[in-house]
């Protein structure tokens, strides 16, 4: 279709480019993907609008999962929070709701994330430090005290002991008179990415995945508005992966959960609509946007054609987005505000359903209220002042973005093939495939930065001789003592006979391969602790030392 004059225009341009000066480093994305100087219709051979993009809210959802996107409703502004005692975190929650936040997101401390009680010797020094410490039902009760759980959607970022925490949450909701059918929220409950990237796991992969499926199964039947898993690429990216690895590994994990849930006898359309995703928003705006768009396309395609889902809801990939913690620098920390703003822009241009913006001081400590407020204000400026919400998928149709979206999807498919050849996701965990791929990518990135091939403002360029310190949040050391004392009091007041009975029931149910949720909900009421429940399961499942794969 190109005419002689067009060709000559192109030739003229090519000549000019060849003669022009270019910067010393060939331009690549954050992930190292080479980028062409210009994208034109020729970059998209055989492009088919209806098949590849279609209309928003329609298959394959490349342009977004809702017909009107942000013209209808803005994304949920959800700031992750949690530290110290349940009471302290409860106060932070109320502070955030007052500032206009529209959903809650709970961060747990490391001992809780690893399934350890506050009084466990391995927890020393870590209780309440990076999140809130939760060991019993009473802690969950205090954590969400005074918050209308039928109105506010609650997200809980926890994985290895997710089923136990979910049981506590449901027991508390029921005891408080909330209707399970009206509860809205998300539990992360994604153990696979823990094996790939974040290393918060207890049991071997297979029984661990079984617990994930227990939660999906139970929620599908009894808590229908809840998202029982948030399939997460965020941590994979934080561990150093490329954008494509984040995309491919996350979707592969998702497919594994779908297969395992179907193997339980659930129909794909009964649960798929409640599977949610969680992606990273890194510095490279176009690479990130292409990643989200490719993710929606690939998921829709696979759910429809491989797993035979018939409902539109099952094809839709809905995702939460968080700006990249790993991109934040401890040098000139205020500059992080600017990074976060651009990353948030990428998330919104990519059509996220909810968004967390990091605070500028997170490489130094937990965020202060001042820093958290600025992070939230960043989202509000984006939503109400910049105009990016005015139309759906504003970057759709850009030759560059469409070409990058295609490329991203193709490379992800190649990863799916490689995984299949190895025998699937679990095999890839066992043989160290994921960990190696991610670690090598992380090292390649660091070498690029060290060699100055990638510029990080304030770190390897534009540095300041004198760094001005900023105020940071200090967690007082009384939290640990407070938590241990509270836990002792609960242990003293409960019936140990009853606790033993519940622990036996947990073991029996684990052994029998039945869904553990009902026994855990009952155990929660008898004040069985997180650590006790996890240990009882470990008696049956064993423990996993697979972090050794690297």
């Amino acid at each position: 279709m190109s005419t002689a004059t067009e060709r000559s225009a192109k030739e003229r341009w090519e000549q000019e480019v060849a003669q022009a000066m270019s910067r010393p480093q060939p331009p690549t994305t954050v992930s190292g993907v080479p980028i062409e100087p210009l994208y034109t219709p020729e970059s998209l051979p055989g492009f088919d609008y209806d098949a590849e993009l279609g209309y928003p809210g329609q298959y394959p959802f490349t342009r977004g999962v809702h017909a009107t996107m942000y013209r209808g409703r803005l994304w949920t502004m959800r700031q992750f929070a949690g530290f110290g005692t349940p009471r302290q975190t409860n106060q932070r929650f109320k502070f955030l709701l007052e500032k206009g936040q529209t959903g809650l997101s709970t961060a747990f401390d490391l001992p809780t994330l690893m399934g350890l009680d506050s009084d466990d010797p391995r927890a020393v020094g870590e209780v309440g430090r990076l999140g809130v410490a939760v060991s019993t039902l009473d802690d969950i009760r205090q954590l969400y005290d005074g918050i209308d759980l039928e109105q506010v959607s609650v997200s809980m970022t926890i994985n290895a002991p997710a089923i136990v925490i979910m049981a506590f949450y449901l027991a508390n909701a029921q005891d408080r008179g909330w209707d399970w059918k009206k509860l809205r929220g998300t539990i992360q409950n994604d153990i696979l990415k823990e094996f790939h990237a974040q290393n918060e796991f207890v049991f071997p992969p297979e029984p661990h995945v079984r617990l994930v499926i227990d939660v999906i199964e139970f929620c599908t039947r009894h808590v229908p508005q809840w998202n029982p898993v948030s399939i997460s690429g965020y941590h994979i990216r934080e561990a150093g992966s490329t954008a494509v690895q984040e995309l491919a590994f996350t979707l592969a994990d998702g497919f594994h959960y779908v297969e395992q849930t179907m193997a339980r006898g659930l129909a794909v359309d009964d649960f798929a609509g409640r599977l949610s995703f969680f992606f990273n928003a890194h510095n490279d705006i176009f690479e990130e946007v292409a990643k989200y768009r490719a993710a929606r396309q690939l998921w829709a395609e696979t759910m429809r054609h491989t797993y035979g889902a018939r409902k539109e809801a099952s094809w839709k990939l809905r995702f939460h987005c968080q700006t990249a913690g790993c991109s934040l620098q401890d040098k000139q920390p205020e500059v992080n505000l600017i990074r976060v703003a651009y990353q948030a822009l990428a998330g919104v241009l990519g059509g996220c359903q909810s968004l967390h913006t990091n605070s500028m001081d997170e490489t130094l400590a937990l965020p202060t209220e001042h820093a958290v407020t600025l992070a939230l204000r960043t989202q509000q400026v984006l939503a109400y002042e910049t105009g990016v919400t005015n139309t759906v998928d504003p970057l759709g149709g850009s030759y560059f973005v469409e070409a990058l979206t295609r490329q991203m999807a193709d490379e992800a498919r190649r990863y799916f093939d490689r995984l299949q050849q190895q025998g699937g996701v679990i095999a890839g965990i066992e043989n160290g495939f994921f960990r190696r791929e991610i670690a090598e990518a992380a090292y390649a990135y660091q070498r690029d930065v060290d060699a100055g091939r990638k510029i990080i403002v304030g770190v390897n360029a534009f540095t300041e001789a004198e760094e001005k310190p900023i105020d940071i949040l200090v967690i007082d050391d009384t939290v640990e003592k407070d938590r241990i004392a509270a836990l002792r009091a609960i242990k003293a007041a409960r019936s140990n006979e009853e606790v033993r009975r519940h622990l036996d029931a947990i073991r029996r149910t684990a052994e029998a391969g039945e869904n553990l949720m009902p026994v855990l909900i009952e155990a929660a009421r008898a004040r069985v602790t997180v650590g006790e429940a996890i240990n009882a399961m470990a008696d049956v499942f064993g423990r996993y030392d697979g972090a050794a794969k690297w």
Binding site: R122, N199, D330, A365, Y443, Q446, D450, V459, A547, W550
Partner: protein, 152 residues
């Protein structure tokens, strides 16, 4: 004796490095599983000619000190991002001294608030490296400051 021979013929070719390689143990103490940094540093130091003994995740102060002792390491690199450094690092330093390993240099990497850095240095940490420290900076520091391995 049942052992009478060297098993491998001594090769005539000269060593790549004339000095014996520096041995460094890298470990994560505490519960946090964020191992991106330590893995990157491990690879970087390897490529700079160090012998890196990777002790991995979830190490306790006791297990770290045992590793340093058995590996006869010149350096110990601790990675910690969980905020528990003021609890765990002093314990490691104490145990090193108790084991007679005060000649081993200790470096710490991770999220360490500015105000804690002088405290750690005072306790005997040789240097604290924040997130995203260029590998060459760590290499240069270690090369310049390698403690003399002592036989006593």
């Amino acid at each position: 004796m049942y052992l009478v021979a060297t098993t491998v013929p001594p090769s005539g070719e000269s060593e790549i490095m004339d000095k014996p390689p520096v041995r460094i143990v890298l470990a994560k103490i505490g519960l946090d599983g964020h191992d991106r940094g330590i893995k990157v540093v491990a690879r970087g130091l390897r490529d700079a000619g160090f012998h890196v003994i990777y002790a991995g995740l979830w190490q306790t102060p006791e297990s770290v000190v045992r590793t340093v002792a058995d590996e006869d390491a010149d350096w110990l690199g601790l990675s910690i991002l969980s905020g528990a450094h003021m609890t765990l690092v002093p314990r490691v330093l104490h145990l090193l001294r108790q084991a007679g390993l005060e000649h081993v240099g200790v470096i710490v990497g991770g999220i360490i608030p500015e105000s804690d850095v002088p405290k750690l240095l005072e306790l005997g940490v040789a240097r604290v490296f924040g997130p995203g420290t260029p590998i060459p900076e760590i290499v240069e520091f270690l090369r310049g400051r390698t403690p003399a391995p002592s036989a006593s």
